[in-house]
């Protein structure tokens, strides 16, 4: 009798790869699915279940399903990939320097001059003094009639 190629095993593994790679490529763009990657974890959980069923079938019903060797390899790979994903999402992104020396609440902000995206030098103190009409949402501007403030955002770049 011709044995099945064990579709659940392979589709499970494909789903795992999809679940892992769709995080940086797609789901990480939306706050709802980025902060806690529930969509990806769901896909990965389902994928692991499919791979597990495939492996059980390969060993338990070897006369009907192929995949003892491929299943074992895929299962190990699946666990490794899942582990790396969890490490990357839950541990790696928290490894930020402590930055004890950063300016603190109550300090006078250290002044600087840097070029903007058109190459024009911008001096922070000039911006602050001139009550720069910053790009605030209507919710934010509601509370700041007396204090026109500046929000300075440092970001990693290379997104």
């Amino acid at each position: 009798m011709k044995r099945s190629w064990n579709p659940l095993l392979w589709s499970g593994f494909v789903l795992l790869l999809l679940g892992v790679f769709s995080y940086p490529l797609f789901f990480a763009r939306f706050v709802l699915t980025r902060d806690f990657p529930w969509a990806n974890l769901l896909m990965i959980a389902l994928a692991l279940i499919l791979v597990a069923i495939g492996v059980v079938r390969a060993y338990g019903q070897a006369d009907r399903y192929r995949g003892k060797i491929s299943g074992s390899i895929l299962a190990v790979l699946a666990l490794v990939v899942t582990g790396l994903f969890c490490y990357g999402v839950f541990a790696l992104s928290k490894r930020l320097p402590v930055s004890h020396g950063a300016p603190q609440v109550g300090d006078l902000v250290p002044d600087f001059t840097l070029p903007d995206s058109k190459g024009t030098p911008v001096t922070l103190s000039v911006v602050i003094d001139s009550a720069f009409p910053s790009n605030r949402s209507s919710a934010e501007s509601g509370g700041s009639e007396q204090t026109v403030s500046t929000l300075l955002i440092f970001y990693r770049g290379y997104w």
């Binding site: 109550g106 995206s117 058109k118 910053s134 929000l151």
Partner: protein, 102 residues
């Protein structure tokens, strides 16, 4: 609002155009300000270059820093609501002449 990173001015301008931002994006390619403010994330960028760790500073009109947010997870960005809370807190803390609850 002002954003700063190690990107070159042309990279930042590209980002501005793609996302439609109207606020200035400053380039600290040599990490002068990033180092002085102790915000370097060493070798965290592509090819091991240094980048800035995410940080936000709310500065009032006298140049005093009123709120600092050093995120501890670079995937979780500051929400607008957090900034609004900081603005509101500042308003109450600001020594207004006469009326502190407006």
């Amino acid at each position: 609002m002002i954003a700063i990173s190690v990107d070159t001015p042309s990279e930042s301008e590209g980002l501005r155009k793609t996302e439609g931002y109207t606020f200035p994006i400053l380039s600290d390619e040599k990490e002068e300000v990033i180092r002085r403010w102790d915000l370097v994330d060493p070798h965290a960028g592509p090819d091991g270059i240094d980048v800035a760790r995410p940080a936000e500073f709310l500065i009032d009109s006298s140049g005093k820093i009123r709120w600092v947010n050093l995120t501890d997870d670079y995937r979780v960005r500051t929400r607008p609501e957090q900034v609004v809370e900081a603005f509101d807190a500042m308003h109450l803390m600001h020594p207004l002449v006469g009326d502190e609850h407006r």
